[in-house]
Symmetry: C2
């Protein structure tokens, strides 16, 4: 039951910090199970998982918040390897929801055990801090995009950001990637309306920059799209924290 961590392919990817045997054993012991869910389900908080920490090991999800006026703001897209609810374990606060975008599988961990895991492991602290700084940069980029770019530019920015993150994970293939976000997800990520996202997508296609087909994104001219969307290409973060 606790063996999967040792043979987990995801951890081995060069994007992530490579754990020592000691660390791996410790994580394994704090693992309480594995849960799979269909798309469009709230992962956290949820009846099945509560507000425990978990690691997304397969599938896509997104972090979002709902405003008093009913609208939804998507805060981040979550890819395999990302921790869900870590802030709940470490700071006691979790003021957003996480919903699955595709079928997902998560590893559920024990909150207290995660806190204990970090104690006495300064390397892990340092990696977590680097990862948090990287996320801060991503938020800053997003802020600049939403605040200062037009709709087609924002969409181009989102495309490039996701494209690069998928590529860094090592699951990209040339100039196209799997892209399970619907129009409304893009809209809620970028402060737009669903219908206008659609119009902007045709503009991106007509300009020969990128095409969004059925769950598939093709980038026709990366350099042109980068300059069109004012994209700041981010150098790989070194190693990313993973639980």
């Amino acid at each position: 039951m606790n063996s999967p961590c040792l043979t987990c392919d995801l951890r081995r990817k060069p994007l992530f910090e490579q754990l020592t045997d000691d660390e791996l054993t410790d994580i394994m012991h704090s693992r309480s199970g594995q849960v799979s869910m269909p798309p469009k389900q709230d992962i956290a908080p949820s009846p099945r998982i509560g507000d425990a920490v978990c690691t997304l090991i397969a599938g896509w999800a997104f972090k979002y918040r709902r405003l008093p006026n009913g609208s939804r703001q998507i805060l981040d897209i979550l890819l395999p390897g990302e921790a869900i609810g870590l802030e709940k374990a470490l700071t006691g606060i979790m003021d957003h929801h996480v919903q699955s975008l595709t079928p997902v599988t998560v590893c559920v961990l024990d909150n207290g055990a995660v806190q204990d895991h970090l104690i006495g492991r300064p390397t892990r602290y340092r990696t977590l801090i680097r990862t948090l700084f990287a996320k801060e940069r991503r938020y800053e980029n997003r802020l600049a995009a939403i605040g200062r770019l037009t709709a087609p530019q924002r969409i181009g920015y989102l495309m490039l950001e996701i494209f690069d993150r998928v590529r860094d994970l090592g699951i990209g293939n040339g100039s196209w990637v799997h892209f399970p976000l619907q129009r409304q997800h893009i809209a809620d990520s970028l402060g737009l309306s669903g219908t206008h996202v659609n119009r902007s997508l045709t503009e991106l296609r007509d300009r020969g920059l990128a095409t969004l087909g059925s769950n598939m994104l093709v980038i026709h001219n990366r350099d042109a799209l980068i300059s069109f969307a004012c994209y700041t290409t981010s150098e790989p973060t070194g190693c990313q924290f993973i639980l």
Copy 2:
């Protein structure tokens, strides 16, 4: 020359982590000096400070980025106690500028010494992580505000956020605070134009919510403004990291 840290009033404020004598001595030794600058000057990177880490000990500043199309996006307002350039020391990357908003004073530290300071001090690591999570929440709030609120709502949100941060620092006084942001600063923080900020300010005043006078913000009806601006009141973060 190195004694000021021991008598520094800023560190004693309850908002910040209280350092042990050992930690304080260590910080003192990595201090290379103190610099004062007038408003509207770039603090980092700058000829006088380079890209060294420093702590803002008096005055207001802001973090910003300039886009290829010439526009400016303000990423965050910096208040006394905030570290400048910490990401440069810990991750090697610093892709924004910091400019003074009022006359400021910063304590300049040695980059390498700051890295060494953290090693072997898990409590400081933990505080830094909590502070980074808190900043992540602030960015998420800002993202939701810019993405999903109207101009007057966004401005109300910014007012409340700054008001609360100043109050948490212990330098607020009842229902008004010093507020050195100009129209254009507000605009560049919230993805608006300077002229429209002005129009929105008159709306906030006409609604009896808040008035922005010469470098002074008065909040007339806090509860009404909170509900108008969809503000999520943030519980104090416990203790904030300070160098």
